[in-house]
């Protein structure tokens, strides 16, 4: 049973790391509406399981819950057939078909257009296209600046796996950029 006090502690740490949580959800789910909903779900779950928080790394504990809520949503989406394996679609039907399947909101399009105006647009695009297991370690390490141990904790995987996924993720991203947007080059 979570006491009000524990809920307060957990709720505060969740709000303190809200941008990190939202950024991870946004990269995993691809649009603002789903990311917002996932973070809200995660917040409710965090408060309810406040008593299980043993005082370890707060950020990692909270991000682990956010991530689970994101994957729950992805699974629902997959069942709705709004999203099948995006990489598979890209491989079989081409990049445009894959992009059409990615959920979009108005805000998303504005963001995307804004990003497209910049040199970083291509990298944005490649990171979105990366399989989730590589995308999440890259987001947590390069953008959120988590340590290997924090990432391992948030993802529930060994540090060795964090390191190998990070290495492969960086490699894939670098390759994708080097091949100048050629999608087949990005997939080897």
């Amino acid at each position: 049973m979570a006491s009000t006090n524990q809920q307060g502690v957990v709720g505060e740490l969740a709000v303190a790391h809200l941008d990190a949580a939202y950024n991870l959800a946004r990269w995993l789910l691809g649009n603002e509406a789903d990311a917002t909903d996932a973070v809200q779900d995660a917040f409710v779950r965090a408060l309810r399981s406040a008593h299980t928080y043993a005082g370890d790394n707060a950020k990692a504990w909270w991000l682990a819950i956010v991530r689970n809520c994101c994957f729950s949503r992805l699974e629902v989406r997959r069942r709705d057939l709004r999203l099948v394996a995006i990489d598979q679609v890209a491989a079989e039907h081409g990049e445009d078909a894959a992009q059409r399947l990615l959920p979009r909101t108005e805000v998303d399009d504005v963001e995307y257009r804004a990003a497209a105006a910049q040199e970083s647009a291509k990298l944005h695009h490649q990171l979105r296209r990366l399989p989730a297991e590589f995308r999440e370690v890259l987001v947590l390490r390069e953008i959120e600046e988590l340590s290997y141990r924090e990432i391992a904790e948030a993802l529930g995987i060994p540090i060795g796996t964090v390191m190998s996924r990070l290495a492969r993720g960086r490699e894939k991203l670098a390759q994708a950029l080097a091949t100048n947007g050629d999608r087949h080059g990005a997939r080897t």
Partner: protein, 256 residues
């Protein structure tokens, strides 16, 4: 330092996961290795571009406000004015989230099935990786101790079963401390001992290790030995020589 070593060390250095001595050692290598210099420049370029503001999505203000409101009402229970229907809806959505979450994680795990085909090989890789990471880290332990009475309580609440903690300082193997590592997707308490300059990791498991994991596994001068530890099981990872390791295994065998 061979360049193969540096390909392992380079990301650790770049990500700030090496201690000062390790960083200095790597920088000495870096000064003479063109290949590593180029690889480092590529990593820096990628990071520079990923740290651009456009890559970090900020939580919408409405979301922040909503969570703060929820937090405020959670703190003052008398203010919780959710009617029964709202509670039911919340409970139902939560239940669905849990059920779906289970499904999603099952799918995720199935997705990773290829990584798990060689269960024992994976365990050995995880054990070696944890040990090497600990060697390269600022500190190989999360709780520092030469006194088992501070190490054992530290594990309580963090892992399902706290391990039996013995100090073998008198026999030349002082207890350094403990940490928690992941092996597969399980949190495993790890006891850390030192012998001279050698670090010894003892990963403690309540269940037997897979029979396919041999009693001895060697890789790049490091060795995994499995043994019984009291009522549980342990995997020992170190680069000590055979004679010293034999003595240590004998000590562990005597733990009750």
């Amino acid at each position: 330092m061979s360049c193969e070593m540096s390909h392992y060390q380079l990301p650790l250095y770049f990500d700030g996961e090496l201690d000062r001595a390790g960083s200095r050692e790597f920088e000495q290598h870096l000064g003479n290795c063109h290949e590593c210099q180029q690889a480092l420049a590529r990593l820096e370029e990628l990071r520079g571009r990923l740290r651009d503001d456009s890559f970090r999505f900020h939580a919408p203000n409405a979301l922040r406000q909503k969570l703060q409101d929820e937090l405020a009402s959670a703190r003052t229970p008398q203010k919780q004015r959710l009617d029964t229907r709202a509670w039911m809806a919340l409970a139902a959505s939560w239940l669905i989230a849990v059920l779906v979450g289970g499904g999603a994680s099952a799918l995720w795990h199935r997705h990773q099935g290829s990584e798990r085909q060689q269960a024992s090989g994976q365990i050995a890789r995880d054990l070696f990786a944890s040990h090497w990471r600990a060697l390269a880290a600022v500190s190989p332990v999360d709780v520092v101790s030469t006194d088992r009475h501070t190490v054992k309580p530290w594990f309580a609440g963090k892992v399902a079963e706290s391990p039996i903690v013995d100090d073998f300082a008198a026999q030349g193997f002082p207890l350094v401390g403990g940490r928690i590592d992941y092996v597969g997707d399980t949190r495993v308490p790890t006891l850390v001992y030192r012998h001279g300059k050698h670090l010894i990791d003892v990963f403690v498991f309540p269940q037997p290790l897979p029979a396919s994991l041999p009693a001895t596994t060697r890789q790049q001068g490091y060795e995994i030995r499995t043994t019984r530890l009291g009522d549980g099981y342990a995997a020992v990872v170190t680069d000590m020589d055979e004679v010293e390791l034999g003595k240590f295994m004998h000590l562990l065998g005597g733990v009750r």
